[in-house]
């Protein structure tokens, strides 16, 4: 089976989306005979080729992106608009999605998930499901012990797709956990994770000599 993959992160090869896809694809290709073809949507000049590979995909298509202002990035929306001529065409491939966000809860991505399911009906493709993952912003800098479980789940999801042609619902649920913050997690967030999150951003602000300006309001107009 060949999987055609579109990484819709505006960060391209330097994205958290890529890190998740890497593990998923390793799982998908764990046995011989499985292959993939990868496109980065940020390479706008390759759009014709990207679209051609969608139409000619010999197996499932995976569209992966980070959540941007509660939906897909503009770049990904632009790609989706270019799929318009394909609506209703015969023999389009089945499609699955990966949506990752920096918010810890998966819930933020459920609204775009609903859009994506409708999108497959509009195109006339079989919908294989959406992998939703929160808390992905820091994974590039997290120590291995913090990402082992996540990457393991991505590997298993890819492996299961190769074996069955489907996304495993149990693994999808695990990947999305926490769907929402429990009262204990909310308490923990207030006590501990707030500080960790703020330290993460403050560290980057400091590195850029911008910490003192972190709360600037550059667009405030004088009344």
């Amino acid at each position: 089976m060949q999987l055609t993959v579109y990484n819709g992160s505006p960060r391209g090869a330097h994205s958290n989306t890529r890190l998740l896809l890497d593990r998923f694809l390793r799982g998908f290709e764990h046995r011989s005979g499985e292959t993939h073809r990868l496109h980065y949507l940020v390479k706008l000049k390759q759009r014709d080729e990207q679209l051609r590979d969608f139409v000619e995909a010999p197996g499932p298509v995976l569209l992966a992106f980070p959540l941007y202002t509660d939906c897909m990035p503009g770049l990904v929306k632009n790609f989706i608009e270019d799929l318009r001529p394909l609506c209703g065409r015969d023999k389009l491939p089945p499609v699955l999605f990966l949506v990752q966000s920096g918010f810890p809860e998966a819930h933020h991505s459920r609204y775009v998930e609903r859009y994506l399911e409708k999108l497959t009906r509009r195109l006339g493709c079989r919908y294989l499901g959406t992998m939703v993952r929160g808390g992905a912003e820091g994974i590039q800098v997290m120590p291995g012990i913090m990402t082992r479980k996540l990457f393991g789940l991505m590997y298993k999801l890819g492996s299961r797709l190769a074996q069955t042609g489907e996304l495993d619902p149990g693994l999808l649920r695990k990947l999305a956990s926490p769907e929402q913050l429990s009262p204990f997690a909310q308490w923990l967030y207030k006590k501990l994770l707030y500080r960790m999150s703020n330290n993460y951003w403050n560290g980057m602000l400091k590195k850029n000599k911008a910490l003192g300006r972190c709360k600037d309001r550059p667009f405030t107009e004088k009344q």
């Binding site: 897909m72 819930h107 609204y111 409708k118 929402q180 107009e221």
Partner: protein
Amino acid sequence: MKVVVLNGNPNAENTGFDEYLSALKSRLEEKGHVVDLLMLRDMDLRYCVGCFGCWVKTPGRCVTPDASHDTDRRVINSDVLLLASPLSMGFVSSVLKKAQDKFIGLLLPYIELVKGECHHLKRYEHYPYLGVLVEREADSDDEDLEITREIYERTCLNLKTSLRLFETTESPAVEVADAIDGL
């Protein structure tokens, strides 16, 4: 009130949509409002590249000196922001979404809990009410409208505002303008 309308119509040949917004603007001005109608397709807006420079390098503004500085300035100083776009594949245009992606600098990177959910902290004191106006495409159905509306209700949670209007261009421009006037 100051009303900012972001026209996300990507297609100059769709003159009906642009004319609708011109009529809306005229009606609002008759009512005494100040209206900024921005034609996004003619502006030099680049895609957000997810660098977070607007949070950690040049706090509050995109590191790319594109038209987002102008759109964000107008948006944050308005009382009502109307996001207007023909639906395309079931959602607002990529032209509008591109402009909207650059709103993240209007917030801080820091997180707070709102109703038990993580959201970003305010950067500014005041955020405009949000309205969304869409034009149906040939295969639009009520589900598309519901999905779009739900997504913008989420956007409001993050943008510290509320969705005060969600309309299609099937409603006359005068009625939509009057609804904005009544906010």
